[in-house]
């Protein structure tokens, strides 16, 4: 018998009596202004927030925030950067990026997480290899809790999707928080007002 059949057979013999799957209770919604909550938690988790009124101001806001970034890769239509991040590239070449810019799908006010899909980052490695990361998000794309987020998202719509909540960090040496473990040393979230789409 195959291992698969062995394991399934052992489970069938040993599993407990049926227990019902609970319906998810109506969790209380987040109270307060989502944008304010989102900004506050982002600052708490060592991310920076930049607000712009119009998408045309995103590129200059990032240039001000990161004046010394030489190689700026972009997968966002709002930012030209010094290079487009294209599908055909070898992801290893992205290791020279100082800043990578892409758009997010939605943001979660309770924890500062931003959902980014495969197609938004173009290369899955890009948000991790870059020294700094900027995520562009429309203010209307905020939800309160993770329950709201999963109600809105279809997680298998694309091959990969991720919640990013802050810059890469570690506290593995004596519980001391160090920003910039293996991934980006900073995260800037650009929140824009108008929907230009």
């Amino acid at each position: 018998m195959s291992s698969r059949d062995d394991i399934l057979k052992a489970i069938r013999q040993n599993k407990p009596a049926p227990a019902a799957l609970p319906a998810l209770p109506g969790f209380p919604p987040v109270t307060g202004d989502l944008v304010t909550l989102f900004k506050d938690i982002l600052e708490e988790i060592s991310a920076q927030v930049v607000e712009v009124d119009d998408v045309s101001a995103i590129a200059s806001a990032l240039a001000t925030r990161y004046p010394n970034c030489e190689h700026v890769g972009s997968a966002s239509e709002y930012v030209a950067g010094t290079q487009r991040v294209e599908e055909g590239d070898d992801p290893h070449t992205l290791a020279m990026l100082d800043l990578f810019v892409c758009e997010g799908t939605l943001g979660v006010a309770e924890n500062g997480a931003i959902w980014v899909r495969d197609s938004q980052m173009v290369h899955r490695a890009a948000p991790f290899l870059t020294q700094h990361l900027a995520l562009v998000l429309h203010k209307g794309a905020l939800v309160g809790t993770m329950h709201d987020a999963y109600a809105r998202l279809q997680i298998d719509e694309e091959g990969f999707g991720i919640f990013i909540a802050g810059p890469s960090k570690t506290a593995d040496i004596e519980q001391s928080l160090v920003i910039g473990a293996h991934g980006p040393r900073s995260l800037t979230v650009v929140l824009y007002e108008e929907n230009q789409a």
Binding site: S2, S3, R4, I7, L8, A10, I11, Q13, N14, K15, P16, A17, A19, A20, L21, P22, L24, P25, P28, I45, H92, A95, V108, E110, N111, G112, D118, A125, P127, F128, T145, M146, H147, Y150, A151, L153, I155, D156, E158, G159, F160, G161, I162, F163, I164, A165, G166, S168, K169, T170, A171, D172, I173, E174, Q175, V178, G180, A181, H182, G183
Partner: protein, 455 residues
């Protein structure tokens, strides 16, 4: 491994024991603060607990559903009965691709299966990329904690280790400096890796995908660069639907480190173009544990480590004293199921205070199971002879009221009259670290008899 012996060794350094205790308690306090931010915390715990109970009762169906959806998404699914088969499957995949350099993010399952030495013996270089895991790998030690593998190290010791192994400045112990050194060193490993191995935090039956959580981004750096990704998961990692992720993710990071969410929560459904994605589903004793009525709910564990951080025994004895892949209270109810003889002292490494059960995000009654394991181990004859003799003697006295009263009187007399050096002689293990209580003048039995006679 004998927990009391190893714990006694740990306790010889009083200052260090105190430091370790405080480090863990600090994490417990962060967890408490994060929990208080969520008014519906108890509803979340109850929901999570019920979802996991349901999954265990239909685990076979969900595994089949997961497999079908994963395969439809071009994910290759493998099944392993035990650690040996798991290691062989991983090795075969690596060999097929002629891989010699592997990066691995944190996975307690591969620790449990001792994958690293297995691959190293076959000429494959495997690097643990979580900073804490890399530190213990460089030191040639097992992790001492499931979330914070190097929590037992002082920064000065890590400074010495890095100086020896990486050539960092002698005497340097600044965490930011040491982390930067690790970043530079490991980046080269990420870029050169030919395969990446990760664990799995949650596998979703409905979509055939899985979720991996890290703070450092090391899992993602590995798998998005290497042409082969192998994800290893225990059979118990399943949840039915995507919406259930909301429940578990709200609990996991808050319980583990006091964060509202870990920095990276990655959802894998299909391999990226030109790469392979493998999932190895591992039993390794879990289906047997599923059949143990008293202990099956231990399989609900989501490996947050909250019970470990709160445990007064763990905090004062260190992770290595348990001699098991998963230390602390949850490990002490999982490990005896794998090898009762080897892990016979672990269910006794508890005061049964119940703090572990109080903080568990999926409401496992850990302290009750610790107590039940003691009975199982005793009835199977796994207790140490000294403990067995003491229990037999105590039981014999308790079963004889007259003898009990005489012994009680003798003890009260002895405690009052005998000199200290006799009371605290070698045989008195209880009195080694604390004074015995002042004996009462008479027993409750005497008191009752006296007062009943008065009209």
């Amino acid at each position: 491994m004998n927990h009391p012996v190893a714990a006694a060794q740990f306790n010889e350094d009083v200052a260090r024991t105190e430091w370790h205790d405080q480090a863990l308690w600090f994490v417990r306090e962060k967890r408490d603060a994060a929990m208080r931010q969520v008014p519906e915390w108890e509803i979340l715990r109850e929901t999570a607990s019920q979802i996991k109970d349901h999954v265990l009762s239909r685990l076979d169906d969900y595994l089949i559903e997961f497999e079908a959806h994963a395969q439809a998404n071009d994910v290759r699914v493998h099944w392993a009965r035990d650690a040996v088969e798991h290691n062989q499957i991983v090795f075969d995949i690596l060999q097929k691709h002629q891989v010699t350099r592997v990066v691995k993010s944190k996975s307690m399952l591969t620790e449990e299966c001792h994958l690293n030495p297995f691959l190293e013996q076959r000429g494959i270089e495997i690097v643990d990329t979580d900073l804490g895991e890399w530190i213990v790998q460089l030191a040639d030690e097992p992790p001492s904690h499931i979330v914070m593998p190097a929590i037992h190290f002082k920064k000065e010791e890590i400074g010495v280790l890095f100086h020896q192994k990486l050539g960092t400045e002698a005497g340097a112990s600044d965490p930011a400096y040491l982390t930067e050194a690790a970043r530079q060193h490991l980046r080269a490993r990420f870029l050169a890796a030919e395969a990446a191995i990760t664990g799995v935090n949650f596998a979703i039956a409905e979509t055939g995908g899985f979720v991996v959580v890290t703070n450092e981004g090391n899992a993602d750096l590995g798998v998005h660069l290497a042409p082969v990704h192998i994800a290893c998961m225990g059979i118990e990692k399943l949840i039915p639907r995507a919406e259930h992720l909301g429940v578990f993710l709200r609990l996991l990071a808050r319980s583990a480190t006091g964060q509202a969410l870990s920095v990276y929560t990655s959802h894998f459904h299909r391999p990226r173009a030109g790469s392979e994605l493998h999932v190895v589903i591992v039993d390794n004793g879990r289906s047997v544990q599923l059949g143990r009525e008293a202990f099956r709910t231990s399989l609900k564990c989501i490996r947050c480590g909250a019970c470990i951080n709160t445990c007064p025994i763990y905090r004062r004895s260190g992770g290595h004293s348990y001699g098991a892949t998963v230390p602390g209270p949850i490990g002490s109810i999982l490990s005896p199921g794998i090898d009762p003889k080897k892990h016979r002292t672990l269910p006794f490494a508890s005061t049964l205070c119940g703090s572990c059960s109080d903080v568990c995000p999926v409401k496992i009654d850990i302290h009750k199971q610790l107590f039940q394991w003691r009975q199982v181990l005793a009835s199977e004859g796994h207790l140490a002879p000294s403990k067995r003799r003491a229990m037999r003697l105590t039981g014999w006295v308790f079963a004889r009221p007259r003898t009990y009263r005489v012994v009680g009187r003798l003890a009260r007399w002895a405690l009052r009259r005998l000199p200290r050096f006799l009371i605290y002689a070698r045989w008195n293990r209880w009195g080694r670290a604390r004074d015995l209580p002042e004996p009462p003048r008479y027993s409750f039995h005497d008191w009752y008899l006296k007062h009943r006679r008065t009209p």
